[in-house]
Symmetry: C2
Subunit: 329 residues, 2 copies
Amino acid sequence: MAATPLLVRDIGSFHVGGRIAALTGLPLRERLSSSGGPVHPIDPNGDIVAGQMYVQYVQLAEPKAPAPLLMWHGGGMTGANWETTPDGRPGWQMFFLRAGFDTYVSDAVERGRAGWAPFPQIYPEAPYFRTAKEAWEETFRFGPPGSWHPDPAQRRPHDGLRFPVGCFEAFLAQSVPRWGCNNDLTQRAYDALLQRMPSGAIVLTHSQGGNFGLTAALNAPERVRAVVSLDPSGAPDPEARDAGLLRDVPHLFVWGDFLDRHRFWINTRPGVQRWRDALSDAGCDVTWLDLPAAGIRGNSHALMADDNSDAIAALVLQWLAERHLAGAA
Amino acid sequence: MAATPLLVRDIGSFHVGGRIAALTGLPLRERLSSSGGPVHPIDPNGDIVAGQMYVQYVQLAEPKAPAPLLMWHGGGMTGANWETTPDGRPGWQMFFLRAGFDTYVSDAVERGRAGWAPFPQIYPEAPYFRTAKEAWEETFRFGPPGSWHPDPAQRRPHDGLRFPVGCFEAFLAQSVPRWGCNNDLTQRAYDALLQRMPSGAIVLTHSQGGNFGLTAALNAPERVRAVVSLDPSGAPDPEARDAGLLRDVPHLFVWGDFLDRHRFWINTRPGVQRWRDALSDAGCDVTWLDLPAAGIRGNSHALMADDNSDAIAALVLQWLAERHLAGAA
C-alpha cells in the first residue's frame, strides 16, 4: 500500500556556528585533483572555517506540529542515523515528517557535512574510529561482551535483540570519526542553532547528543519546547546547573534494554539519573521511559534502527501529543 | 508568492561501496564521551568500514523525468553544494525536484556523511584543507590572483562576478577535507551506485565529480542516460578509453567565466577538451556550452551558487528536455 505523499514546501540546508581559523607553518604540497590530470602546487597555509555545524531541513507545506523537530545524532554518527534504517525501512525523519513535523537534521561539529578541522593544528588530538567490536559489544549493545566475531554466522547477539543484525555492516558504514575534545565547540553550535528558531523547537537527541540537548535547554529554555533524549550518554551536573530553569520544558528520557550488561552504560547512566532527579526535585515535567520496565524488551542503543523503531517513535509522538506539541491528530 | 508544494513519496539514504578494513598496532586510549562524564578505555584496533559513499534521495510521488538525477559534488565539498545557496536561495536540488526529477545527492568517499578512514593506516597520506585564499583566487575563480584579503571590504572580485561574495564565509563553511589518493575508491563507489539504478540515471557533476561522471558513463554506458559536467576538472584519457562506447550517451559540458585567468584551470581544461574531441570524433552527441561565448558572463566555478544559478539550471533542463530526458513540460 502506497503511503500518502508528503506535501513539502522546501528542502534545504545551512551551516551554523564556526569561525575563521588560521593554518601556518605547514610545508608546501602538490595535489593531483583528478586521475590522469596535472599535478597542482598547494599552499596548505591560510584561513579555513572551523567549528561549523550542518543543518538540513525539510519544511512541510502544512505542518501540524506547533514547532519544528530538531534531530541531533549521537557520537561518531551523522544525521544519516535518522534517515532510512540499515535494513531499508523508513527512519524517524520520515516518521515525524508524516506525523506533521518540520524536521531539522544536524551533522554536529566535526562530523558529516559539517566538515572537520586539522589536528593537531586546530583540534588538539587525533580522532577515534569506531570499530565493529566496540559498536557491537559496548556502545550499541547488540551482543554481550565477547560476542563479536568477524564472521556474521558466529556473532552472538543478545537474546531477543531487536536490531537487524544481518545489516550490521550497513549500520557500521554510517559511522564517522569522532574527537573527544570538541564538546564545547559543539555545544556552541547547537546553542546557535536554537537562536535561529524564533518559535522555538522540540529537541530530539540520541546518545552523545543527549547532553548537548539537555544543556541547550538550560542555555535557552525559552527556545526549547521539549527535550526527548534517547539513551543519553551524559547530562548536566546538578551541582553546576540549575534544573529549576526548566520548569516549562518537559523532558522525556527513553531507555533501551541490556543497559546493565555493558560497562559503558553501567558507568554512564547514573549521571543522567542524577539530572533526572534534579529535574524532578525542581518540579519539572519529567518522564523516564524504561522500555523493558514497560514490557518492551530487546531494544539496542540504536533505538531508531531496531525492528520496532516505528513503535518507539509512536511512543515519543504520543508523549508530545499529550503536551500539545504534536498538533491535531 | 508561495511555490506549489512538492509531492514527495520518500526521503531516505543509503551507503554504497566500502569494505571491512582492519586497524592494528595502535596504542590503547581513553575517551571522554560527554562533558563531565566518566572516561572510558578505548581499544582503537579492530575492523572498520572504509571506502563507502553516502547517497540521499528524494523521490517524488509523480516524477516527470524518465530517470532520476544523480548529483555528484566537486573536490573538498559534499552534497550540501546542491542544496540552499550560501545566500539562502533554493539550490539545484530543489530546482530539479520542482522540474520533476527524483534526486540522488551523494557525499563521495572520504567526504561528508560518507565518513573517512584513518591515515596513514588506510589512506596513505594526510588530507588537504581548503584555504580561503585558494578557494577565492584559484579553484572557484572569485577574484584574480592576489585579490584575496581577510577583510571582506578589501577583497577584489572579478569584474562582473556573479557569485554572492558577501556570503563567501558561508560558502567556505561547506568545505570538507579532501585527499589526493582516493580517486580509485571513489570511482568504484560511483560505479556501484549506478549498478543500483536499474532504469539508469542522469549524472550531473561538478568539478572533481566531472571525471568520475565521465568515467562512470564509460564503465556502464547502459546505465547512464546523459552526463552533464559543470566545469569538470578532469576527463578520461582518449588514449586509454574508447569514446565510441558512448554513442548513446549524450554529454553536456558547461563552463563558467574567467577560465583563462587561473593557473589551475589553464592547466586543467585541455584534458577535458581532448575528451570532448574524442567524443565528437566518435560521433557522440556532445554539447560544449561555454557560457561567456554564449553571452552569459561572470559565472564563477560555483555555478550552482552564482546569482544566476536558476538560469544555468534552466539551460541544463532545456538540454535534457531536447533529449526527452525531462518528461512533459
